[in-house]
Symmetry: C2
Subunit: 201 residues, 2 copies
């Protein structure tokens, strides 16, 4: 009987190895050879699945987006709307290895997106999905009376997603910012400022 190979699973395993290396030592250290060692496959297998280093990094980008999507589905089941909102945003802060890798892989492709329309459109799609999820949590918060009904959910989501993504990126460049976001949750502060005026509920 021929051996059954689950190609999607193997691609995911390779992408996970890329993300592990990116979290540990940065994008600069992601090479075909390093990923082969990490994943336990030959470089030939890697090249069969991804062709070259850039394609492997793009695979890691898609894998990171997929894992974030799964996290959003889990978060959607959780507690009240403001907790969901806070978690949906903190999902992109580099507060553990998984999210550190996510941030590094995204920044790598941001530069490409600024020059290449196909990658721009892919990044636009990921950011759009995230923004819509956050806007949904804001609307739910408004219904629950926890968020000012006067604010525009999508515009506010656009701002909060930019705040979170900007902090995540700056934390990669500046250890002081990394310390700041690890010591004091930045997102909660701003969500608190979205509370309705008048007596606290």
């Amino acid at each position: 009987m021929p051996k059954v190979v689950d190609h999607d699973q193997r691609r995911s395993e390779i992408a996970d190895a890329v993300l592990s290396i990116a979290a540990r030592a940065g994008i600069g250290t992601v090479t075909i050879r390093a990923v082969a060692e990490e994943a336990g496959w030959s470089t030939g297998v890697l090249i069969h699945y991804f062709g070259n280093r850039r394609a492997m990094l793009a695979g890691a980008l898609r894998r990171a987006a997929e894992i974030s999507g799964q996290r959003h589905m889990e978060i959607a089941q959780e507690g009240d709307a403001t907790t969901r909102l806070e978690r949906a945003l903190a999902e992109a802060l580099p507060l553990d290895d998984r999210r550190l890798a996510l941030g590094r892989v995204f920044v790598f492709f941001y530069a490409e997106a600024a020059a290449d329309d196909r990658m721009r459109s892919e990044i636009e799609g990921y950011l759009g999905v995230w923004r819509k999820f956050v806007a949904g949590a804001i609307r739910a918060g408004q219904k629950q009376g926890r968020i000012d009904p006067g604010i525009d959910p999508l515009a506010t989501a656009t701002h909060l997603v930019a705040l979170t993504d900007g902090l995540s990126m700056h934390a990669l460049f500046d250890p002081a910012v990394m310390a700041e976001i690890r010591n004091r949750p930045p997102v909660g502060t701003w969500i608190a400022r979205l509370a309705p005026a008048g007596p606290a509920t």
Copy 2:
């Protein structure tokens, strides 16, 4: 008499040509040849000053940072603290060609900064200067009673700079975000949320 050449001025002119092309058509179209045509110098002169394309883009990054520094000095002379704060932040939003080029050049080097420590440290420096300027405007706003005295100026500056930089970057990827920040000033909304509690002053 030997011709006197102001090398700094020539470098600035070349960097300005890079920024013009970046604003008009994106970083992908910045080539030695295109910049030579734009600046009115030969490709030989450009190579004499910058060596290669990457060095020319790094020159444009430094020039963009220099122009922003000059803008900060002008803004420091302006009106009340919250106006200064708003302008110091809007300085990085791609609301005209100059700031569009600034955003594009920075995103290009963000990816490099994620892998190269020298560029990381350079970017860290620029962001640090911007953050301190914004923190100064927040402190002035607190003294003038226009900003909640209970907030931490540097932490809040870190957040506002990240919000602005994140919006600027997302606007490069998504026309809807670009339209949003051009139609509704995003920064003023958040500064208004930093006002002290109680009756408006």
